[in-house]
């Protein structure tokens, strides 16, 4: 196997997926800290903003639980990116790092999953890494 030979598609998809996971978590933290999410409803004299999506108990989810989900998203995003980087530097170990990308992409669904798209990209990237075969020598 040549040095240049890498599962490029798997690496790119996993990197994008991992980055989206971290981005979604950053947004989730912002919402938790500042309560930025509201439902706008205009009426004659002003704006009525009713409720937080997943905030502080109005739908029965405590703050600590939401923070925990954000942490899971963070850990998943970091490990998917590590998996992608290792896949790039050690393509011979593609099955191991592909499995790690796959597992933590699935786990990331608990923590927003990179707006879902990130998790899906990570799963596809992990599957590609697992099934990747270096080109046969001629």
């Amino acid at each position: 196997m040549s040095l240049e030979e890498r599962p490029t598609t798997a690496i790119v998809l996993s990197l994008i997926g991992g980055s989206l996971m971290l981005l979604s978590v950053a947004m989730m933290f912002t919402m938790l800290m500042y309560g930025w999410v509201g439902f706008g409803m205009m009426d004659g004299f002003g704006r009525m903003m009713g409720g937080y999506m997943g905030m502080m108990g109005n739908i029965g989810i405590p703050f600590g639980f939401m923070g925990g989900l954000s942490l899971i998203g963070t850990v998943s995003g970091i490990l998917v990116i590590i998996g992608a980087v290792m896949l790039s530097s050690r393509p011979v170990e593609h099955e191991a790092w592909g499995l790690i990308i796959l597992i933590f992409s699935i786990i990331s669904f608990l923590g927003m999953g990179g707006f879902l798209i990130g998790a899906i990209l990570g799963i596809i990237g992990g599957a590609f890494a697992l099934s990747w075969k270096p080109a046969a020598k001629t």
Partner: protein, 198 residues
């Protein structure tokens, strides 16, 4: 040798550490065993916790009112020196955690809020308390039949007022002192009890 290459020690370590971390986070987030449960089961206990919290925050702040809701305790905090309402806090009943109330308290509070504090914050605002009450009553007439607005409480940048129905408080609304925007506090749950402090 081939097996080692397929799943090297570094990958195994990353996998194990990652899974343990996720499991630990889920355990700490969900399992009641990790919470010091029922730290604040009464208004008196909530008052003690908030007094302790405020003593670290500023000597000029005191508890003016505590309301117990099904989801948490709501605490109105006042400045001793000016007698202007300063901040609104929430206290988690299960963990005893105190945090700034989201919503108007964070977004509209021009002195203690998180979004653009004024250099010279004032409780004197273009929208008067009477106008604010009027806005709320109009909104209530349109959305919650039979509901009535109670006396407005003035904060830096906005007003907060209780709303009642047939003489019983059931919720709370805030009105921006500069724009007249109305913000319903939908996160409290069912109202249970209120204690005011002199």
């Amino acid at each position: 040798m081939a097996a080692r290459q397929r799943f090297p020690i570094s990958a195994a370590l990353v996998l194990i550490v990652g899974l343990i971390t996720v499991a630990a986070i889920i355990s700490f987030s969900l399992a009641p065993v990790f919470y010091p449960t029922r730290l604040a089961s009464s208004v008196e206990q909530a008052k003690e916790l908030v007094d302790r919290y405020l003593s670290k925050l500023s000597p000029d702040l005191r508890v003016k009112e505590i309301m117990e809701f099904s989801n948490h305790f709501y605490i109105m905090v006042q400045e001793k020196s000016t007698e202007i309402n300063a901040i609104e806090l929430l206290l988690d009943k299960n963990t005893g955690t105190i945090f700034y109330e989201p919503g108007p308290n964070m977004m509209w509070n021009t002195k203690y809020g998180h979004m653009g504090r004024m250099t010279s914050p004032t409780a004197s605002m273009p929208v008067s308390a009477e106008e604010a009450s009027g806005y709320v009553q109009r909104w209530l007439n349109q959305n919650i039949r039979g509901a009535k607005v109670e006396e407005p409480e003035t904060f830096y940048g906005y007003y907060t007022m209780d709303v009642s129905k047939e003489g019983h408080i059931f919720g709370m609304l805030s009105v921006n002192g500069y724009t007249g925007d109305v913000w319903y506090h939908s996160w409290h749950g069912k109202f249970m009890e209120m204690v005011e402090y002199e």
